[in-house]
């Protein structure tokens, strides 16, 4: 009898790898705001995550589920910390307000929301695949991503909006 397993702890490592790769591409696109080497550093980190997954698979029987969860969760935390750090970097060094808000809405908030959701649902996952909180979370994230992406791609729109409001006053 063949059956697929429920969510494995390695899912968090996979999520972390994808977030790191996304960071790599975004920092490449915003290369005028980040050090030039950053995208390549993230690629190496993602590659390390891949190695981490391979090792986890090879020694599946040795590491307990508890250990596997914690080291995979740690990798996800590292990925999330980098996203937050990039957000802070924008805010502190040379970011415009629109870019900081855009990054927060389009990247930081949805990734933290999705990660929090999966971690909180981890133990319930085999029985509760799509509950109400997930549906609300997805809809909320979709709205925020949509709004934030538009701000992120066209920050001047927000500036114009603020200017109009000031002019009216």
């Amino acid at each position: 009898m063949l059956s697929s397993s429920p969510l494995l702890p390695e899912f968090f490592a996979l999520l972390g790898i994808d977030l790191i790769l996304m960071l790599s591409l975004l920092t490449c696109l915003l290369d005028n705001r980040f050090p030039k080497a950053i995208p390549y550093v993230y690629q190496v980190v993602a590659l390390a995550g891949f190695g981490h997954l391979l090792i986890s698979r090879e020694f599946l029987a040795i590491f307990g589920k508890y250990t596997r969860f914690w080291y995979c969760f740690f990798y996800l935390i590292v990925a999330l910390a980098n996203i937050v750090a990039a957000n802070i970097y924008f805010a502190v060094s040379k970011g415009s307000r629109a870019l900081v808000m855009g990054w927060f809405g389009a990247i930081t908030f949805p990734t933290i929301l999705v990660s929090t959701f999966f971690v909180s649902q981890y133990s319930l996952m085999p029985s509760a695949v799509l509950n109400l909180s997930l549906q609300i979370g997805v809809v909320l994230s979709a709205f925020l991503v949509g709004i934030s992406m538009s701000i992120f791609l066209k920050p001047e729109f927000v500036k114009k909006l603020f200017r109009r409001k000031l002019e009216v006053k």
Binding site: M1, C28, L60
Partner: protein
């Protein structure tokens, strides 16, 4: 001029990163997929198994879990000996399953002079109503056995017992006290 160059440079930088990202992402997903698709094999007792019948030949032995049986069969010279119900095939499951009988081994082995003493061993699978469903025959050619091919798969209904009926015969003038041991197995389709 500079404004045209900048997107191109960015593209040149982005493209290898995009490709390696896709590669790493796909490989990672494949590793994860290979982990979740590890087959989960549940060990359960065979749903169709041999059980001893009312005519169980002495000296025979039932294999582990009833998945095979070693039958010590007698034969009379120039006369057919019938075992009416030496063996049963039982489906203990609540749904029907398919099975077949398969030859495993026979002693005395081919090329032994003792083989020529036997003429045939005919196994007939009969359903609960006594109707023949398949046959499984051992014959001899000189000192060699003609062993049967596995039967075709037969469907045994849920919670039902079928009978294996056996006929044996030895050659006229055969040496007495030679026992043939036949090992057969039952294969079950899920």
């Amino acid at each position: 001029m500079e404004s045209k160059k900048t997107p191109f440079r960015k593209l040149v930088k982005l493209l290898p990163l995009l490709l390696t990202s896709m590669l790493i992402g796909t490989a990672s997903a494949a590793v994860y997929y290979s982990m979740i698709m590890e087959p989960a094999v549940t060990i359960t007792g065979a749903t169709i198994r041999f059980i001893q019948g009312s005519d169980w030949p002495s000296g025979s032995s039932m294999g582990t879990n009833g998945t095979w049986v070693s039958l010590a069969l007698k034969a009379y010279p120039n006369a057919t000996l019938t075992y009416d119900q030496p063996l049963n095939l039982s489906n203990t499951d609540s749904s029907s399953h398919q099975f077949r009988l398969r030859h495993v081994s026979i002693t005395p082995a081919s090329s032994s002079a003792s083989v020529g003493n036997f003429t045939f061993f005919n196994f007939v699978i009969k359903n609960a109503a006594g109707v023949s469903q398949a046959s499984f025959n051992y014959t001899t050619s000189g000192d060699n056995w003609n062993t049967p091919s596995p039967t075709s798969y037969l469907t045994l209904p849920a919670n039902t017992k079928w009978i294996v009926y056996i006929e044996t015969k030895a050659a006229a003038g055969a040496t007495e006290d030679i026992v043939a041991s036949i090992v057969i197995a039952v294969d079950v389709l899920e």
